[in-house]
């Protein structure tokens, strides 16, 4: 995985192209939904929100509520979650120098799953909660999962290998999943809800979810973007990176913490949406080269576009019914990824 050397101009072109794709995905995502809204109505609603512009869109109050309180926040949330999962996947793959690494590697998914299951099974007993305890429990669970993994794996976390940490993640995930399954079986009337959470969902997306996760995502994205060059250095090996004056342990820690924090926040509001963290970064590498200077920003952009489009399929294909987003990401993502893999003629 040598960092491709590309001229700055080409890099800018790639970024611009990616942003165009994302913009297209966002526009299509907002325009199309289970409830048909007139194109002109949506456009003038949008223009009406600009300063100094006053337009009557011709949309009814109901349509306006559908657009601003249901559809747009959902598209935005899908974009944020997709961007975060793809970025976290890219970061983990770099830090662990393991192409199979995904954001759920270090116990985030298992921890969040346990938290969510506990909230679903025992939450209702605490009637009168001012807020929905589920996202909070999932978020805390995810952070506990990563922390346990880190505490267990750190003892032996030599600069040379990260295998110990990955194995600690596997052990932690199995342990937490065992507890989760136990709770789920004890409170077996919750099975369907837990299952539906595990498949991932954006059905109930609103601005509240967007504002809940935004701070964590910003911190996470900024931290990883600032370290993208160091990810390139890590990819040539710890000794070489060390000889270049990089504190590899510290860089790893910062990136892992940032990626895990962002993933925990994303998972808390959307459940376990699989596959995004693996296929988006790899597709970016196959199409644009493996330099993290490009992989990091492009994963953010394409991750957002991919999940916006996947969610669009999920909410329109059998509209007005929904298909779980996790089903779509794997069903669309896997063949798409295989096509890219074959066409590029190489296995990264």
């Amino acid at each position: 995985m040598n960092a491709d050397v590309r001229p700055t101009g080409l890099r800018l072109t790639s970024l611009l192209a990616a942003l165009l794709v994302l913009a297209g995905a966002l526009v299509v995502g907002v325009l199309i939904g289970p409830v048909p809204l007139r194109l002109s109505g949506v456009l003038s609603e949008g223009a009406d929100r600009l300063p100094f512009v006053h337009l009557s869109s011709g949309l009814s109050d109901q349509q306006s509520a559908i657009l601003w309180q249901l559809r747009i926040p959902r598209v935005v949330l899908a974009g944020l979650v997709g961007a975060m999962l793809a970025l976290a996947g890219a970061a983990y793959q770099g830090v662990f120098r393991n192409p199979l690494a995904d954001p759920y590697l270090l116990g985030v998914a298992a921890g969040a799953g346990l938290g969510a299951t506990i909230a679903i099974a025992y939450g209702p007993a605490a009637a009168g909660w001012p807020i929905d305890p589920l996202p909070l429990a999932a978020f805390v669970g995810a952070l506990v999962g990563v922390s346990v993994t880190y505490a267990l794996g750190r003892a032996n976390w030599s600069g040379r290998t990260t295998t110990t940490l990955i194995l600690a993640g596997v052990a932690t995930a199995s342990f937490l999943t065992a507890i989760q399954t136990y709770v789920q079986q004890r409170e077996d009337d919750t099975v369907r809800q837990v299952y539906s959470w595990i498949l991932g969902q954006l059905t109930t997306a609103s601005w509240r979810e967007v504002s809940l996760i935004l701070p964590y995502l910003i911190v996470s994205v900024v931290a990883i973007v600032l370290h993208r060059r160091l990810l390139d250095m890590l990819s040539v090996g710890d000794e070489e990176a060390g000889s270049l004056g990089v504190n590899t342990q510290r860089v790893r820690l910062i990136i892992v913490v940032a990626a895990s924090l962002g993933t925990a926040a994303a998972v808390a509001v959307s459940g376990l949406i699989g596959f995004v963290g693996v296929i988006v970064p790899h597709t970016v590498r196959l199409l644009f080269g493996s330099s993290y200077r490009l992989v990091v920003p492009l994963s953010i952009i394409f991750g957002a576009a991919f999940l916006v489009l996947a969610d669009l399929v999920g909410r329109t294909l059998i509209a007005p019914a929904e298909i779980p987003i996790g089903v779509i990401t794997a069903f669309l993502g896997a063949p798409f990824f295989l096509v890219v893999l074959r066409r590029s003629g190489r296995l990264t």
């Binding site: 939904g33 559908i66 059998i318 019914a321």
Partner: protein, 308 residues
Amino acid sequence: MGRISALLVCLALALGACGGQPSEPAAPSATQDAAFPVTIEAANGDVGIPARPERIVSISATATEMLFAIGAGDQVVAVDDQSDYPPGVPTTDLSGYEPNVEAIAKYEPDLVVATSQSGLKSLAEISIPLLVHPAVTSLDDAYTQFEQLGVATGHVANAAEEVAKIKSQIQDVVATVPEFEEPPTYYHELDNTYFTATSDTFIGQIYELAGPRNIADKADKAGSGYPQLSAEYIVQADPDLIFLADSECCNQTPERVAQRPGWDQISAVKNDAIFDVGDDISSRWGPRVVDFLKIVVDAVGDLELAHQ
């Protein structure tokens, strides 16, 4: 070879067990109540019950309610963790979703009632009769289950009475349904991610008795009967009535529903026409189906009054 001989054994058993026994309850009579052994044509095939069961284990909440309603409660020794009605049922930590044959056998049952055969096939090996009464799709199927439980427990007359009582109560309640010019629309919420039930389900059929139209019928292209709706669609469909069957599972209340973004546009929210039907009564097809129907009919009636 093994399969063929197993088939022959089954055939022989079925013939033997079936010999001359009524599989459908006829007109109730005292002599028939005492007529054991009986064979019942249930979802898991012909079930032979050699003598009046005295140690019944029910791992179906609906079956539990039915058994107690037909006067077989004294014969029930254990029910699953979901069975909570009528008050005082012998609730245990047995699970109906993940049944454990050993745990069931511990109660030395002479009849087990469940909603599915899955995980329970080995009951046959220890000669415990299993009666499978799956979720029904019509009231008639529910009545059949009442009657079969009557035969299985020796309460044929009581079961027939209970069915007749439910039928007449339903008739009385339905008689109070107002005439509509345009039937109101409703949304039945199963959980807070907008899973719902269509008219094709048992739940939907109860609503049909009261007349409102289901907004989810268009959404069920997969034909499961239980689609997950888009929030946008619910707002656009603008139901006149919202019924919550997720107050226990998911802590939902009319107030919380009213606060959902965009939902203030829905007629049911504007007119305070959101009703808690209870997770249990609306998901069980037992004796309390009348209570469920009453809530629906009252809601529809209030709506019509408000219109006048």
